[in-house]
Every structure is written in C-alpha cells, then in structure tokens.
C-alpha cells in the first residue's frame, strides 16, 4: 500500500469515527449512508465487475432484516406473540438480551442469505442479460408478497423490532447503530478490496467481457458467478439486519423487500459513481444520499421529480459515472500515461 493510500484511509477512518460527534444530529442519516454504500459496493460485484445487472440483491437485504429481528425476538420471547396484533402482553428486552440477540441475529442475517444465494444461484445465474435482470426483479417482488403473508413475522401488520434498551443517554442508540453500520462498511470495503486484488476479479471481468470465451479458456464461470453472488448476499444480509434495527419497524414490501426504492437505489448509486470501480459506488452512494436528503428538504412534494431529473442528467452527461468522467478528464491522475496526440485523435474519432 502506498504512502498516499495510507493517508487516505487514515483520513477516512478518522472522519468516520469522529463523524457522529461532529454532526450529532445527523447520526441516522450517516448510518443510512453507510448501509447504502455497502449495498452499492456489493451490487457492483455483480453489476459492475461481472456484468450481471441484478435487481435481486434486495432479496438478501430483506431476508437479513427479517432474520435478524426474528432471532433477536425469538431467542428470548415467543415470536408469534410478539408479532400478534391484538396481543395484550408487552415484552421488554434487557440490555444484555438486546445486544446478545442483535449479535446472533446479525450472524444469522449474514449466513442464511449467503446459503440462499448459493442455492438459487445455480438456477438463476444460468440466465444472461435481460433475462437475468427480469428474473431477479421477480425475486424481490415475490419475496415481498410471500413475507407479507407469513403470520409469524407479522405478515401485512409489519414487525416492530425490539426497541433499543434504556442505557445511558438518548444518543446511545444513534451511536450504536452508526458504529455498527460504519464497521460493517469497513468490513465490506476491506473484503471487497482484497477480493479485487486477486485473480477472482479478473475472472469476473472475463465473464463480463465474454462469458463464452472465458468458459472456453477453462474457467468454471458458474462457480465464480455463484461465489460472487454469495459474497454480495453476505454483506447485503448484514446491512439489512442493521437497517431493520435502525428503522425499528419492518414492513414486507416498504421496508424489507423494498425493490422499488432500495433495490433501484443500489443500482443507481453504483452507476452514478461509476460501475466497475472500487471507489465509484462509494462516491455514488454519498452523492446520491446528499442529493436525496437535499431534495427532500428543499423540494417538498417534488423530490421524486428532482431525483428523476438527476438520474436523466447522470445518464446523459455521465454515462460512465463520476469516476468514469474523472478518469476521462484527468487520466494522468489515475496513473494513465496519455499521449496528447493520440487522445485528440480519439476525441475526434468519437
């Protein structure tokens, strides 16, 4: 790792650790930002590196959310009574129960979606192009409808996750969820970054560029596609589990399997930042989140129109995303040697 990189990472780490204290009122938004970045980074493994536009990652996110909350409740209380609407009993987690439940819940929320990804991957990853995109779109919708009919997790009533225990100050909840999501983000980043430095990334790129050729070269593409999806599922599940606790209320189609918002947002963020790059999804998610929050404050009632305009602008002016645009504008900063004549010639050709 070069010295410059070290400085960068240290700066981000310090900023990340200090952020909830510098901007105490924005803890929730910052936590959500971390979750969004995790989703964008993991989507990029499929959409960016592998060339498989997945709308199905929301499945793992929602699964993680329900699993984490169910485990957290189910470990200590009867789950059916907790979610029952007319129930007269009130259950309260002690702080120890809350954190133990959360810890076990997050492990389950990460592991089960990974297994699910492995299982369904065999059939679904055989599809390519539009067929894959449409099939995965269906996954999220189906999961939302199915979970909306399962009584034990609240069905259409929704699922209120355990309230944060009363420990110390009012800020404890915000800080807890912020650091949880921030460390998940770091974990995701380190994992993905180290994966990208191996042959694995080259294989994913080979699949993206020409899957048949890659197979002809002796790469077991199916195996790598599934592994890639399982990695995404692991972190998406984790992100979902955290988000469930953060929001405090799980609704089948509006919060958990929220393909219409989160499912689309993760794609948008990765594309906005520049898919197929490590930093693109991170920058994309940050810019997107800031714009989104800004629109919500200043264009009340018109925020989706503003967001729509933003998307159109991105597609027209930054088809390669922010990173792609920067790379084209300042190629030398990305360590590319540019021959001016050659560049001009290329521009004219375009």
């Amino acid at each position: 790792m070069s010295k410059n990189n070290l400085i960068l990472y240290a700066a981000i780490l310090v900023f990340g650790l200090a952020a909830p204290f510098i901007f105490p009122a924005f803890k929730v938004q910052l936590s959500i930002l971390c979750v969004l970045i995790v989703l964008a980074i993991t989507w990029n493994i499929q959409g960016g590196e592998m060339g498989y536009n997945s709308f199905g990652n929301i499945l793992f996110y929602g699964l993680g959310m329900y699993l984490c909350a169910s485990v957290q409740v189910g470990m200590f209380f009867p789950l059916a009574e907790w979610t029952e609407s007319g129930g007269e009993k009130t259950f309260v987690h002690t702080p120890a129960q809350f954190f133990q439940g959360m810890a076990v819940g997050l492990v389950v929320a990460a592991v089960v979606p990974t297994i699910v990804a492995g299982l369904i991957g065999y059939s679904i990853l055989g599809l390519r192009g539009h067929y894959f995109a449409i099939c995965t779109l269906g996954l999220g919708v189906a999961a939302g409808e199915i979970s909306g009919g399962i009584e034990i997790i609240g069905a259409g009533q929704g699922f209120t996750t355990p309230p944060f225990p009363n420990i110390g100050s009012l800020e404890a909840r915000g800080e807890f969820f912020y650091f949880l999501s921030f460390f998940t983000l770091i974990l995701t980043f380190i994992a993905v970054r180290s994966i990208y430095s191996t042959r694995f990334k080259l294989i994913l790129n080979a699949i993206r560029d020409n899957e048949d050729k890659a197979e002809a070269m002796g790469i077991e593409t199916m195996k790598y596609k599934i592994i890639g999806w399982m990695i995404s599922a692991f972190f998406c599940g984790l992100a979902g589990g955290i988000m469930g606790g953060l929001v405090g209320y799980i609704d089948s189609t509006d919060v958990a399997f929220d393909g219409r918002e989160m499912g689309v947002f993760m794609v948008l963020m990765a594309i906005l930042g520049g898919k197929g790059t490590l930093w693109g999804p991170i920058i994309g998610a940050t810019v997107f989140h800031i714009f989104k929050e800004g629109f919500w404050t200043f264009f009340l009632g018109w925020q989706y129109v503003a967001l729509g305009v933003l998307i159109i602008v991105i597609v027209i002016y930054f088809p390669e995303g922010i990173m792609g645009w920067l790379r084209e504008k300042y190629p030398e900063r990305f360590g590319e040697v540019v021959d001016e004549k050659d560049r001009k010639a290329q521009v004219e050709l375009k």
Binding site: S2, N4, N5, I7, L8, I12, F15, F23, A25, F26, K27, V28, Q29, E84, S85, G86, G87, K89, T90, V92, E145, G148, G149, A155, G156, Q157, G158, T160, P163, L170, R173, G174, M243, V247, G248, Y249, D251, S252, T253, D254, V255, D258, E261, W279, I283, T286, I290, G294, W296, T297, L300, G301, Q303, Y304, L326, Y330, E332, R333, F334, G335
Partner: protein
Amino acid sequence: MKLTRIILSFISAVAILFSMSATSFAKVVGDKIVLGAAVSLTGKYSSNGVHTQNGYNMAVDRINSMGGVKVGGKTYKFEIIYYDDESNPKRAAQLAERLISQDGVEFMLGPYSSGLTKAMAPVTEKYGVPMVEANGASRSLFTKGYKYLFAVLAPANLYLDVAIKTAVELNGGKGVKVAMAFEQDAFSQDVRLGILDAIKETGSTKVIDDKLPKELNDMAATLVKVKQMKPDVLVVSGHTKGALTAIRQIAEMKVDVPMLAMTHCDAAKLSKQHGKNSQYALCASQWHKTLTYKDDFFKDGMTYDADFNKMFGYAPPYQAAESSAALLVFKDAFERANSFDQKKVRDALAATDMQTFYGNIKFAPGGQNVSKPMVLFQVMCDAAGKCENKVVAPLKWASAKLIHPVPKWSER
C-alpha cells in the same frame, strides 16, 4: 496517486455540506409553538396524507385566529413543520428522528396510516416526545406500552365488526357467511382481526379470506369467488384505493351481495366519483358531520363541514376531522399543563377528557381513545342520481334506515 487528492477534497466537501445544513429550530420560538409532522404527500397514501395535512392546517388557522394557546399568562400560536414521508415507514422513522434531533421539535403530530405511525412511535417514545396522532388505528400501537402516544380515534378492530353484528341481527340471530378481502397493511389487517373476532362471537363462518396487494387496483379474482360462494356479507378494506377499486369492479362485474361493508368511503369520495354505482355501500367512519358533538372552535360537525368546504373546496372526510381534533387536544393539554415541559404536557394529555366537534376524547392507558364510538353510514342516492352518505348506525345518530339486503344489479 492523485486520486487520493480528489477523494480527500470530496470528503471535505461533504463535511462542509453537512455542517452548513445543520440549522436548528427550537420547540417554542418567541410566541410560536412548533409542532412537527410527517405526512404522506406522495405515494400510495397521498390523498389521505393531504386530508390529514388540511385537517391540521385548518385547526392551526382556527386556533391561532381565535386567540391561540395561553400558557403561563402568555399567548402562543401553533406552527407546523411538515415533511413528506412518501407513504413509506422507513422514511417516516427517519423523519421523526430528523424532526426531533435536527429541527429540535418537542411535540409531534401523527402521520397518516397505522404502518407509518408504528414506524414513528418508537422514535418519539425514545426521546419522550408527546405525539398526538389522528390516523393510526391499528390495535398493536396500543399494546406496546407506549407512554407518549395518544390517538384521538377508535382502534381499527372496531371499524366494521358492527356491520357483521348487524347482518347477524337482520338474519334472525343466525350466523352469516362472510367474505373478506383485505389489503396487506397494518390497518386493514387489524380491521380483519376485528371481523374475525365478530365472526367467532356471532357463530358466523368465513367463506373467503383474501389478502390483497398494496396499492390495490385489481380484485377481480376475489370477486369471481364472491359470485360463486354467494356470501351474505362482503367486507373490503384497503384505504382509498381499495374502496375505489372495489366499487368499480363490483359494478363492472355486477356482483350481487346482500351487504357490502368497507372503510374509507368518504376519503375516496365514493358517492361523488362513482355515483349510483356506490349506492348501498356500508362504510365505517370515525366521524360524520351530522353527529351532535360540539366545541368552541369549530362549533359542530355541520359548521366544520361548511368551513372546510370553503377553505379547501371539498367535503371533509373523517381523516381531516380527526386531524383537526388532534390540535384541539394539544391546545387543551398545553393550557392545562401550563408549561412546555414534555413530561407535564404528556401527563396533561393522559388526563384529557373533553368534547370536540369530532367526538369525546379520553385516553385509555394504552393511548387509544375509548370514549368515541364508530359510526356506520350507507351511501344513498335519490332518483336524480345525487348520492349522499347517511348515518345508519348506531341508532342514536341514525338519519336513515339501513337498506338491507342490497337490491340485485338486475333490479336496479
């Protein structure tokens, strides 16, 4: 690597942005009491979200123009900060957090729908912010032990059980066959539970129990089943869109059923939008303009109806009326607490016992309003095709007699 510099400058830009936007209001500024509210201005609940907002605004206007709120010998005026929750619980929870921790709001008004209220209540509860809500009726809101949540409306399970009981009564006390179609959302599912209780109690049977998707715009499959099974009562609940869809498709498919019971008929302006097709529909309502409750601000239901019509150009559905009532409750509590201390205001709210144009308000320990019954009205049309909602139950306020069974389509 120069990339580092780009990213570092980007981070600092983000930091600056964040710190710039950190403006903060206080709960009571000068002579203003600032209330926070997230309502659905967009998304699937947008029409009811607007009714809610109009109800709030109307009451703010009225209370402010009639002298405001007197606390500690000083007069204060209400002001509301609104956000759009997009009919999305995730967003609603975030906005509650934002209203409290960023905007410094110390008193909240509820959003529209049970699901969104469920998402916001844990947040307001955590910060000890009293929330008077007018549109979250799901029973599970009141069994979580919330101390700072107060609902001016009757809980959801009471919406339509009267209809089942009436049907049984008209059937000579024998059980009836009930067909149910409910949207997959917190409110409608709770109405369903209320119906299930009523079925059990009266020895009736359920013949259809369908769950319908959100943003309900097709229920043909259920209606085909209804044609086959010939139930005595068809119960439908799915907010405004559910009511509109049900009426449209029942008329299209000419489905004959002796009793059709629904929610949200007045919010959907059924009698106006579907005219004669909506005739005979039986609707659960929290309020009706002909009820005889009174208060000093809106006088009575008829006056409220007229004033609202003048201000917003349409007849107020009960969602607007109950929202207005929420502010009357707040005003009353502030004055009795004679303080802006959240705990004191909370205790004053808990001790509320008053009459408003919308009904009597007195909170049970769980936070629900226990002193106001639901009413049932039926859409009735005259020969000229002009349709109106007439109260048919409870008998105390009934202005018309229930028409039962509903005439067949072939005889209309």
